[in-house]
């Protein structure tokens, strides 16, 4: 669905590369978390995925189309929709349903089609009952769900979310995360979730860890988070369950991401 082939990127000619030698393939229906510090290049990676930025070297393909091909940029952006950190910067209208309809209207769709898509998008994020509300009176999590609906109304195949929960409280984070994971599981939507929350990454099917513009680690959440020392080297955290087992005895099986798995390991340790 999205493919990076030997991609490097610098913001200005001659400047230091923000990304170097990235090879990455995101398959249809995958849910991939991109983890890393501020400044590690993860937002740049996201912006390369739908042609907001164009690689300095190498190529990015979306559905086989190169993002260098300006004539197909439109198709690329419809296939891979983007949601940003601050929903306030992404909401344009004073009524929820008008905001969600904005992009469809811009594409000159029939009004019956727009109505259908807006209703579907709002029900997909569980915000249909708020369709006539004013966005600025919604909570952070609700606003972010409206922003996601705006992208869904374009019927993309992939959703790229750049730290969508960074400004939200735990409840808002939960709402947005449940929405995104639900779209992946129930509708087969390809999801790329840029985040620095370990617990969010743990819920995805694959984790890509970025460090200084390169891919430092990739694998399932269990494969990645059990490498406690490597993660520390990258000054990244691991989930508390893994940390606890590691503190207990670093030779234990460290793949426990849930409370139950962690308790199982400790029970074995105590009774073994």
């Amino acid at each position: 669905m999205i493919e990076f082939k030997n991609v490097s990127f610098a913001y200005e000619e001659g400047a230091k590369n923000v990304l170097s030698d990235i090879d990455l393939e995101i398959k249809k229906g995958e849910c991939v978390a991109v983890l890393g510090h501020n400044g590690c290049g993860k937002s740049t990676l996201a912006k390369l995925m739908n042609g907001i930025l164009i690689p300095t070297a190498g190529d990015v393909f979306v559905n086989g189309l190169s993002t260098r091909d300006e004539e197909r940029l439109f198709d690329i952006r419809r296939a891979a929709g983007m949601v940003f950190q601050n929903s306030d910067n992404q909401i344009v209208s004073s009524i929820v349903e008008e905001d969600v309809a904005f992009a469809c209207e811009n594409l000159g769709m029939e009004s019956a089609e727009i109505r259908k898509r807006v209703d579907e998008a709002l029900s997909a994020v569980d915000m249909l009952e708020y369709r006539t509300h004013a966005p600025h009176l919604l909570s952070g999590g609700q606003k972010q769900r409206v922003a996601i609906a705006g992208v869904l109304a374009m019927e993309p195949q992939a959703l790229i979310l750049d730290e969508p929960t960074a400004m939200l409280d735990p409840r808002g984070r939960r709402e947005v995360l449940d929405t995104v994971l639900g779209l992946n599981r129930e509708k087969g939507m390809t999801v790329v979730l840029i985040t620095h929350h370990m617990d969010e990454a743990a819920l995805c099917s694959r984790v890509v860890v970025m460090h200084e513009g390169r891919i430092a680690l990739t694998g399932t959440p269990k494969e990645v988070f059990s490498q406690v020392e490597k993660m520390r080297e990258l000054s990244l955290d691991v989930p508390q369950t893994v940390k606890l087992l590691y503190e207990l005895d670093s030779s234990l099986d460290l793949t426990a991401l849930s409370v139950k798995e962690c308790a199982d390991q400790i029970e074995k340790y105590l009774r073994g």
Partner: protein
């Protein structure tokens, strides 16, 4: 001895007598001792921000009192002004409040307003800048040239330079990555050790609260649901959960093990839990 700060039966109602009337705080009482580090936890819309805006007199209580060293800050104008300097408030996303031409001028704004001499202002500003890890080069830059994380540090330094007796921070680590969070908490701890300042920080993160605070105040629907040491609060994990608040994952693991008939003491950080479990193994 009177406590540094005492909040007595504080109630705050927004827009009273209108259809928008909303009770944000209800009968809140607590006190803060010298050089204590306290975390205020609760979900959004549970009165945390309303509460801290009372601590230096930005908001006026509907009823109840806020006392600094035993004196009601609203009893006269002089005390209210003194409260603004005694209690330094760092708002959420304070990086949006920078406005001066240079970083140094921005940090100096507070102490200057207190009527301090130029030398004293500069001494404090330089010290505060150093504590939050800003370099000398940064000081002459425009605040708007800096990264988001640096801007936040400038904003915090501006309050530290006022050398408040009580430093209050509303979600100082919101939106930062793990390294940024650790740095900011580290700066605050260093400052506190050096100046023996009391600190209150508002957070959503039970993990941050568990690891960094000596006392916790849990707000729920505008009232204090519980307050005490992390140990006392997290011992009531079930109550916290039924109020819709999280507990650190470690606490959940411990309660899961207890429900399987394994007798373990309460612990709320991975390190502490590991030693509790090791102790249990040695005991058997």
């Amino acid at each position: 001895m009177t406590d540094l700060l005492t909040v007595e039966n504080l109630t705050h109602i927004y827009s009273p007598g209108t259809p928008f009337e909303k009770k944000a705080l209800s009968d809140v009482s607590f006190s803060i001792g010298e050089s204590e580090m306290t975390a205020v936890i609760g979900q959004t819309g549970r009165g945390k921000s309303t509460l801290i805006q009372h601590l230096n007199g930005i908001l006026k209580p509907t009823s109840g009192r806020v006392l600094i060293h035993g004196e009601d800050i609203r009893s006269d104008k002089r005390l209210l002004r003194a409260a603004r300097f005694a209690v330094g408030l760092v708002f959420q996303y304070p990086e949006y409040q920078l406005f001066e031409e240079t970083v140094l001028k921005d940090i100096s704004f507070g102490p200057k307003n207190m009527g301090l001499s130029n030398e004293e202002t500069e001494r404090r500003a330089l010290e505060a800048a150093q504590i939050v890890g800003l370099s000398e080069d940064d000081l002459s830059k425009s605040p708007f040239e800096l990264s988001g994380g640096q801007k936040r540090r400038v904003a915090i330094a501006g309050i530290l330079a006022m050398e408040p007796q009580l430093l209050v921070l509303d979600e100082p680590t919101a939106g930062l990555d793990p390294r940024g969070r650790e740095q900011i908490i580290g700066y605050i701890k260093n400052y506190r050790e050096k100046h023996r300042t009391s600190v209150i920080f508002v957070t959503h993160s039970m993990e941050d609260a568990a690891e960094n605070a000596q006392r916790l105040i849990v707000l729920h629907r505008g009232s204090i649901l519980m307050q005490g040491t992390p140990f006392e609060v997290f011992e009531r994990a079930e109550e916290l959960k039924s109020a819709g608040l999280g507990v650190p994952k470690v606490c959940e693991v411990i309660s899961e093990l207890r429900s399987r008939g394994i007798n373990l003491k309460t612990a709320f950080t991975p390190e502490a839990a590991a030693s509790v479990i090791k102790g249990a193994r040695a005991r058997d």
